[in-house]
Structure formats: structure tokens, C-alpha cells
Amino acid sequence: MSSPSLSSPAVGDFSPEAFAAHLAALPADVPVWWIERKRAAYARFTDLPMPGPTDEAWRFSSRETLTLAGFAPVTATPVAGAAAAARDAAVPALFSVADATASLTFGDDRLVARQALPADLASRGVVVATLQEALRSHPDVLREHFLSQPQKLGSEKFSSLHAAFVQDGAFILVPKGVEVTAPIVVTHASAGAGTAVFPHTLVILGEQARATVVDAFVSPDATAPAGPRAGAFACGANDLYVSHGAQLTYVAAQRWSLDTLSFQLNSTIVRRDARVQSLNLHLGGRQARHESLSQLQAPGAFSEMLAVTVAADAQDFDQRTLQIHQAPHTKSDLLYKNALLDRARTTFSGLIVVDPDAQKTDAYQSNRNLMLSDDAEANSLPGLEIQANDVRCTHGATSSRIDPQQMFYLEARGVTPAKARELLVFGFFEEVLNRLEHEGLHESLRQLIATRFH
């Protein structure tokens, strides 16, 4: 590969030297294709410019605060011995899932704890492993599915950066016909303070398989106030591949520290008669961009895309979604709800694309913003691109405050204004959370949201 020329776009601290150090720190036995992909991704990263003012995928985004400087990829500064042990012990659980089937916990992209699968599931071929393990045990599956989908939502540069520096992550495989009822939990923790992490989760469900997967993103200093500039960097990706007739529930809860610059790039493939329900809870970060791409590739595919965001202080959340209907008789249903407090800012940009011949598509997209502060700003860009006529496609976007009549009703019954407001905000979110079937997860998410209000 060539080193970037003087005129190359910003690489920040992700310099050729840092990348060389990252490659040097990889285990000696990683496959050649893995290293080649990383090299290609790094070259792509250096070739691509930072988002520009005429870049439609970044309309309304706070581009001026995007930076790649001030962070070091953790792999370039390995910590050893007692320091590592102390750090590992400090990785907090974002929330507990009492009945977890298995879990993996990563601290700065290194596995620090795990709860193994029950023997019966393992014997039926279920795999909950790290990427590093999967590189050896399932190289072909990994090679086929790892970051194999196109980036269509504007962050190809950051996706390339992720591919170049990704160190480890979760690899979850549920074979044909196997049902895993209790959640598989993956926690990605960042030590914060100048570090860059690249969390990765890959979920593959075989035909007729069922599973629930939870991704949790957390910094130990989640409540530390944001400084004048981003102090930590997280650039994660999660790919979900759901085969014919399979059903996946995917929950991602993000509570990075308030000084984190975060990117989370999702790609979901839904095959014939398969169902995916994904729910993203966004609480942390100083500036957090989330991209979610659902491709409905075969008849009967259904993707339910849900999100709840609490935007407070001066947080900036940027959510970009794309529902692509590539086959007839497919369905997608998106509901993104934001509550905005203080000086927070949110951007929702969603697009439903119906390909020619994807007749009988049923697509819905809804963005609801609850304005709780006079200084908050909500941007909505709900879009449609329809190229087939026998479809049912609708979208809606609203921005409004708490209904004064509802406040009055509660206050008239002796509820304090603060409590009444909280109840109504939770009522606003409940429409999304209610769609989760798993009671325990529902309750955990509620409690997690409550921490952002107290």
C-alpha cells in the first residue's frame, strides 16, 4: 500500500505509523486475507475526504466538530500486567441481564470477561466467540459476512477506519433451526480519555434460527462532564445477517461518556420470511452518529427499526437510516423517538427506497421529537424514493412539546410538575419499549433511561 501523500485528506492521529503499529501488534497467526482487508480499508480511509459542506448525507450534521485528532488506537499503546488487570476489573456492566445465555465483555477492544454458553447450545453448533477466535474457528463464515455490505449512508470513511483498526469483537452464530431463547449479551467498554475503540458485533442466524442479542456500549466515566473537545473516540460496526425464516431481536444500548465522539454503523440483511427487530437506545456521547441500513432481500422479509434517544446537555445525535426494499412483499416499520432537553440537538434522516418491481411493499417510517427545552433543536429529514406503484409507503415526522392538557390532568391529581413531566416522557418512550417482548430487557432499558433524568 502507498502512504498518503501530502495532499491526502485528514487522517488525524490515525497515521500510517499508527496503522503500522496496529498491524505489528496483531497476533502472528491471523490469516493473510484479514491483513489484506485491513490494508485496503486503511488506504480507502486515507483516500476519502472528511464530510464536506455539500455532502447531502451530512446535511444538518455538526461537521465542524468532527475530528480524528487527539485519540490513539488502543492497540498502539498496549498496557500490560497489573495495569491491564486493574483496568479490566474497572469495566462496568451497563445493565444486568439476569437470564443471559452467554456474554462477552470487551475492555478497549480486548476480551476481559465471558460467560460461556450452556453445553447443550454449544453442542448444537451455537457459537458466541470473539472475532480473533472466529478467525481460526470459522474463517469462511467470517470472510463472507465481515463488513461485506456497502456503506450507503455517508460514513464510508469511518467504516474504512473501523475496518482498518478493528481489533476484536463478538462473533455470534446460531445454526439452522436452533432457538436461543435468553439474550446473548455483549459489552463494549472504553477506558475513555484519549483512547479510540472499534467495537464490532457480527450476528449470523441460520434458517429458522431464533436469538436475542444485546450490545452494550459503556465508559466507566459515563457521567463525567464534556470538555471543550471530544476526549474519546468510538467507531463501531454491527452486521446482522438473518437467513430464511429466522427471527432476531437486537438491542443496542449506548452510554458512552459525555465527551465521546461516536460512530455506530449498522447493516442488516433480512432474507425470505425472516424478521428482525432492532432497538437502539442512545444516551451517551458528546456527538454520536448512528447509521442503520436494512436490506429486505426476499419476499416476506420484515425489519422493525426502533430507537429511543435522550438528548440532554449539549449532546448532538445524528441518526441516518435507510430501508431498502429489494424484493416484493417485504415490510419495514421504523419508529425513532427523541426527547430533547437543555441545548441538545438531534438530526433524523431516514429514507425508504422501493426498488423497481418490489411490488406489495409495506413501509413505514416515523420520527417523533419531544421538545422539552426552548434551547433544543430537532431536525427531521424523512425521505421516500419509490419506484414501484403497488405499494403502501407512508412516513411522518412531528416535533411538539408535552401536551399541556396531560400535564394539567396529572397536576390536578397532585402529581408534582417534575414527576408529571417524567411520567409523560416515559409514556412517550413506552410506545417503542413496549414492542420488546423480553420483559427483563424492557425493564433494564427503562431504568437506564431514568438515569439520564436524575
Partner: protein, 483 residues
Amino acid sequence: MNAASTLEPAVPETAAVENPAVGIDQSVGDFTYDVKYDFDAGTGLTENTVRYISAVKKEAPWILDFRLKALQTFLDKPMPTHWATGDLENIHFDKIRYYLAQGQKPKRTWEEVPDDIKRTFERLGIPEQERKFLAGVEAQFDSEAAYSNIKDIVAKQGVIFANSTEALREHPEIFRKFFGKVIPTGDNKFSALNSAVFSGGSFIYVPKGVKVAQPLQAYFRINAENFGQFERTLIIADEGSEVTYMEGCTAPKFSTSTLHSAVVELVALKGAKIQYITVQNWAPNVFNLVTKRGVAHEDAEIKWIDCNIGSRLTMKYPGVVLKGRRARGEVISIALANDGQHQDTGAKMIHAADETTSTIISKSISVGQGRATYRGQVHIPRRLKGCKNNTECDALLINTNSRTDTYPAITVRGDSHAVQHEASVSKVNEEQIFYMQQRGLTEGQAMSLAVNGFVNDLVRQFPMEYSVELKRLIDLEMEGSVG
């Protein structure tokens, strides 16, 4: 098809067919006359073109200066293809004629209008009685108004109704203050182009408290191959006044591309009401790139009723800047995109004062491989109270390969506003078509009826003669869309 013949009149042989469904002549708007142009700026756009136009119009130096600065802005600005269609690259600015006029002064009476121009208007399908009834027709033939008689009637109320050249020459004290202020030259590449080469269009001033009973009308025609038409319209409604302006377009079909790029500025002062109605039916080779915006002051109301049926590519997003408290803005948009057409239309609502309200209702129909796009912007900035917006976009897709897009952008700051956007995409109800066919209608007639039903509640808001014209145009466009 090649319609530009020197025969007099030149009617393409394929077009002279009666439409059995509605009994109107399909060749409407499908002809051209050989007209001798006294003034012609030639093709291409340079500083000399701009100086030539300004000299012919005997303009004040400040206008020439304005034009020259605009030309530079136009040349400096890139094509907005990062968000707009790449079809814009197919405009060949060097092959366009930027100014043509017959060198005649606007006519006062019908008798003074030259016979060949009269024939053009006849072919537009305006019956004789209606022409007399529509006493307020300010008809524009190419760059200069060729016919006008409403002027004298409204002049008695103190209303100034003139073309842009005349208004800027005779009433600079009224028009200069607002000219280019609602839509600055640099607003976009095409508003800059218009500012450099504008001619024709209507300048209207309605004095305080005057309610103009008759709608003011202007029919625009393009009648020269490769000819760009750059009207400039400025309407000022002084405090408490009311005015309705109507603009309708048909154009001959030409084989090479034609550019139409108008700028329309409206100013509704305190408590005034302006309603601006457009029926756009340019030929399917016309690029129609229009900037339309109004400023509504306290308690004022601006309503755009915008219907787009013709052209190859229309890009038009009528806007209202709600500048005064309790100002109201409304856009009603109907678009019909047939094979080879792209109707990229929408609305902009910029709230800039407390308790301002805006409404956008857009309905589009895509036929064959036509593409209809809604693009909208609603903006409520910081520190405002009690603003409301309601937006509804409905798209109807007729054929399996029809296309529609929706791209709204909504910004809301603060916790005292209510903003709502809804959009839906659907096809014609098969049961309705079946029901109508059971009762003896052909599939085409049934489809036409269903489409008219889809837009009916909006069409009813048009003045009667426009809604009749609109229904006919929809019937024409729907022909051959099925089967």
C-alpha cells in the same frame, strides 16, 4: 417530434386528433408561428448580452450594475447537482437566446394586437367570450407583454400593474426598495441568471387597503426555438390590501431544449393578502427552473397555488418568509409527471416571528416513467414562540415503472411549537376502476376520473376557469397511460 416548421401555422400532422374522451383538441399548445423579432441578443451569455439587454430597455445605470453583478454570481456558482438531478448538466447555456422582443410597446386593446399573435392566443383554447370575460389578461408574448387592458381598470384604484422594464423606469421609488430583496441575486444559480438577463414579467403595487376584485392575469408563451424566458415578477401588497395574481403557461413543442427561469417576489405588508396562482404547462423540452418567494409581515397572508403539468424538468419550491407576528403562509402544490418528465417541486416555510403558521399540501401523480419529487423545508429558529406547521404530501403512482420521491427537511428549535409532516404513496384503487368500468367507462376514462378525484379537493381552490383548464390537462396527460 419535429414541430418547428415554417408553415403558417405550423401544426405537427400527428397532433391534430380529437380526444374522444373529453372532446378537446390535443394540439393545443403544440404549434409555432413565424414571428419577426426586432430585437435579438443572439445566442450565448456574455457581459455584452447583458449590456445589450439593458441598452435596449434604456435602463437606469443601477439596473445595469445589478445585472452585471448577477452575471458574475451566476458564472461563479456551481450547478447544485449535489442534491439536484444531473439532468441540469444538459442545459447548454451557450445555445440559448437570452433576449427577444418585438420592439413594440404593450398594447392596450385587443384590436391593436397583431393578427398572428391573436391566432396564437386562439390556439391556447381561450374562447372569445371568455377572453372578453377575462378582462384582466396581461398576456406576455415572448419577452415583452403584447397585450394588456386590465391596467386601466385597476389603475382607477391606484394599482400599478406594469411590466418589469416599465415599472423600474417609471416607479423606481416604489419598486427599487423591494426589487431583489426577497430573493437575493445569489440565492441560487438560476436566480442569479434571471437577475442578469430578466425581461418581461409583472410588477404590481396595490395601495393601502385596496382590495383588487378581479384576479390579475398573465398568460405566458414561448414562441421561439432555443429561447429562454426570464420573467421577473414583483408584487407589493401594501397594508391591508388584497390581490390575486394568476399565471398560466403553455408552450409549443420544440425539438431542442429551452430554458425558462423566472424569479417571483411577493411582499405582503401588514395585514395584506396575496394569492399567487400558477398553471405550468410548458412543452416537454423546457427546463423550468423558477425561484418564488414571498415575505409576509404582521398578520399578512401569502398563498401559493402551484400546478405543474408540463416541462422536461421543473424545479420550483415556492416559499414564504413569515416575518411578522401571526403571519400565515400556505402552499398548495399539484404536480403531474409523465414519460420523460421530472417534476421536482415543493415548498419552503421560514418562520421568523412568533405565532406564525404555515401549511403545505402537495399532491403528485407519476404516469408512465414520469418522476415526481417533493422537496420541502420548514424552519423554525431559536427564540420563537407558538409557531405551527402542517405538511401533507400524497403521491399517486399510475404505472409499475412510475417513480416518486419525498425529501422534506424540518428544523424546530424550542418547546412551544407544533410541527407535523405526513406523506403517503399509493396507487389508484383497483376497485374504483373496476366499478367505473362496470358502468361503461373505458379504463382510460376511469383512470382519468380517479386521478381527477385524487386532486379534486385542491383543484377546487383554483378559480373556475383554471380548474376547468386543469381538468382538461389532466385528462390529456392520462390518455394512453393504461393498457
